[in-house]
Every structure is written in C-alpha cells, then in structure tokens.
C-alpha cells in the first residue's frame, strides 16, 4: 500500500504503528508480543537483532577452523591407517578422476561456506551503511543464502554413510574424524545466523522508520 501523504514511498506496518507477522503476514496492533493469528513471537525490525547475526556468524567461523585442520575421515586398509582432511578428500577424488563429485564436494564444503560467511557479513554491514548492491539485489542474496546454506550438510552425511558402509574388518574400515563435528556445528551456526537476519532491515535504511520503531 502506498503512503497517502507520500505516494512515492511504501507504507510499512511498522510505520503505520502495526506489527507485521513474519510467519503469516497478519497485521497485529502495535506493541503486541505474539501474533494473534499464528502465535509467532513478534519482534520489531530493530538493528539490535544484528547482534544475534554477528554472534552466530562468529561461532560458525570459529567452528569452521577445526573443520579444516582436523581429519574428516580415518581410513584403515590392511593395517595401514591414513587420515583425510576436507581438502585432502577433495584432492583424492580429483586424482581418481571423479571430477563431477569432486566439484560437488568442493562447492559444498569450501565455496558455499566461505561465500555464506561473506554474504551474511555483507548483509549485516549494509544495514548501517549505504550499500553498493540495491535492496532487490540484497534480497536475492539473502534468499540464496537461506536456500543454499543447508546443503553444506552433505559432507557430514557422506562421512556418516562411509563410516556405516565401509566396515570390512581387516580389508578396509572407515571411522569419522573430529572435523565432522566442527563442520556440522559450523553449518548449523551459519544457518542460525541467516535465520536471525531480519530481511525487513534491508529496506529500513531507505525509510527512516528504523529509529522510531526500534
């Protein structure tokens, strides 16, 4: 709905003194704590919520370090044990000629996590500062991060299946390494960081309602 006083601008629920529900779209009376329709908690699009984004993002980054340095898989074949890190596993796939699978694992375990850290950080910073990317570009970025982030969990599942499957006594046995835990935590924390980001903040800088209703 357009603002009657200012037809160029859009009237948001917050500017109209209402509290819009992010789950079901109900326009609740201002100051309501929970949505009258679906019962979801109502939070104003305050810049304070960015603190939660930064906290989860930091936790995700910290967990991503051991995910890369510790071994992901411990393979025992005919009495010899070898350990593989994330990068080592990709290199091995590549050297065996499985380029497509190597690419999938490389995307899921390196490219997507790093791109996600950068994208969430950029979204959080751009709320306060003028951004090079317009509102629509940033919304697309947010939706891509929300959609693609969970697919990084593939790596953890690969380790789980290999461990369950490759148990051929002396010939070959695979055990999971500590990196599986830190990688799973890193993915979960960045998913929580993305979920904590309130997309309404993308437009808050355009209208100056942010400070009135925070």
């Amino acid at each position: 709905m357009e603002d009657p006083q200012n037809p160029q601008r859009f009237l948001t629920a917050a500017a109209a003194g209402l509290a819009g529900c992010r789950a079901c779209g109900t326009a609740n009376p201002g100051g309501a704590q929970a949505c009258a329709c679906c019962g979801s908690p109502l939070q104003p699009a305050a810049a304070d919520s960015l603190q939660r984004v930064w906290a989860w993002l930091a936790a995700g980054l910290i967990a991503y370090v051991p995910a890369n340095t510790y071994p992901m898989l411990r393979t025992t074949a005919f009495g010899r044990t070898s350990e593989n890190t994330l990068i080592g596993g990709i290199a091995e796939l590549f050297s065996h000629g499985s380029y497509a699978v190597a690419l999938i694992v490389f995307l899921a375990s390196i490219v997507i996590p790093v791109a996600k850290f950068l994208a969430i950080g950029y979204l959080a910073v751009s709320v306060r500062r003028p951004a090079a990317l317009g509102s629509h570009g940033r919304l697309v970025l947010y939706e891509v991060v929300e959609f693609i982030g969970r697919w990084s969990m593939i790596d953890v599942f690969v380790v789980a299946i290999l461990t369950a499957l490759v148990q051929l006594d002396f010939a070959a046995a695979i055990a999971p390494g500590m990196a599986a835990v830190s990688f799973a935590l890193s993915v979960a924390f960045t998913m929580l960081a993305a979920q904590s980001f309130d997309p309404r903040l993308i437009w808050a800088a355009e209208s100056e309602n942010l400070n009135d209703h925070a």
Binding site: L18, G20, C21, A23, T26, G39, A160, A164, V166, M178
Partner: protein, 205 residues
C-alpha cells in the same frame, strides 16, 4: 481501515489490502516481489497427499535394508540406522543424535504436522485443534529437515567407494530417492500465506 483487512509482507513489511485472489493467479508484494497469495484449486489435497506419501517413504527408508558393500569375499550391510549411529562411539555421540534428527525425525515431524493441518483443509473441515501451532512448527522445521540432502550425500559416498567395492542398493535407498522428488514437489506446492489464509477462513466459518 481495519487492520484485519490488511496483510503485511512477511519479507519487507509493506502493507497490502488483503484481497481475494482468483485461483491460479499470483499476488506479489509491490515492493519486494514476495508471493503473498497463490491459490490453486486442489492445492491442499495435493500437499496433504504428498506429505502422507513422504511419511510412508520415510517409514520404509527406516525399516528396509539400505546399502550393501562387498569386496574380496567380505560383505557388510548398512541400514539408515547404521548411518545415524556412525558417530555414536566416543566424544562424537551428540552428532549421531543430530544426524538422526536431521534425516529421519525432523522430516517425519514436519510431514506429520503438514498432514495434521492440511488434511482437514483438503476435506473441507474446520482446522483440527492446535492446527495453527502445528503449521507454525512445520514451517520452522523446514530448513532443518534434511532427508533430501542426505540422499545426495549417499550418492557422493557411493561414487567414493565404487572404485574399491561393489555396492548393492536396497529398498531404503530407493525410498530416499523418491523422497527427494516428493520433497521438491511438496515445497513447490506450498504457498505459506495461502495456507494461513485458508486456516483463518475455515476457523471463522
């Protein structure tokens, strides 16, 4: 204007008049383009049936044999439960719990909640008790229900071992593969705000 006639865009908070949208057309937010309503005839029936299918497939995946590996005269069978318990030894045990939640329990909870809320809608009944809370949870669980990601992980793992050993695929593997398709179809059929509006209209009538 009464705020009951208004709808706030869940993505960007812009207010819109809550109009009745004709079937098979789409209403989008004027500022950000988020879909506000996309009613389709028979959508509730389709989502309820797809969710029921997904529940049956999940049960089959949990019960039937999953994968079998054989090399040099040795063979080893693994069920989905074995994959969940892969981390159960030593300090990684919590990851086993998380894996079980992500690939079986949370998808089952989500599809159960979808059947519970949408089956009465499909039949033209009033919403079941606590249907609003159940649907809210179904939406919150959506990113954490990772059954479809698990089957892609299985595919990657199979390529990794295919050079070393022969792998046999059991019924549970095909159940998970079908679940991937059903999940995509379900997610495409659901329009969140349309479901909420249907729930609201039915509980008022």
């Amino acid at each position: 204007m009464d705020s009951k006639q208004l709808i706030a865009c869940p993505t960007c908070d812009v207010l819109h008049r809550d109009q009745d949208v004709p079937a098979h057309s789409v209403a989008r937010c004027a500022r950000c383009g988020t879909v506000l309503a996309a009613p389709k005839s028979g959508a509730m029936t389709r989502i309820a049936m797809l969710s029921l299918t997904a529940l049956i497939l999940l049960a089959a995946a949990a019960v039937f044999p999953f994968l079998e590996l054989s090399a040099q005269g040795l063979s080893h069978q693994a069920s989905v439960l074995d994959a969940v318990l892969a981390f159960s030894q030593g300090p990684m045990a919590p990851l086993s719990l998380a894996t079980g939640l992500l690939i079986v329990l949370l998808p089952a909870a989500r599809y159960g909640a979808l059947v519970y809320t949408l089956a009465p809608m499909a039949l033209g009944w009033r919403p079941a008790p606590h249907a609003f809370a159940a649907y809210r949870w179904a939406e919150r669980l959506k990113p954490w229900a990772m059954a479809e990601i698990f089957i892609i992980g299985v595919a990657v793992a199979l390529v990794k071992v295919s050079g070393l050993a022969r792998v046999g695929l059991g019924p549970a593997f095909w159940a998970f593969a079908a679940l991937l398709v059903v999940t995509i179809l379900t997610d495409n059929a659901i329009c969140r705000l349309t479901v909420w509006k249907t729930l609201r209209t039915r509980s008022a009538s």
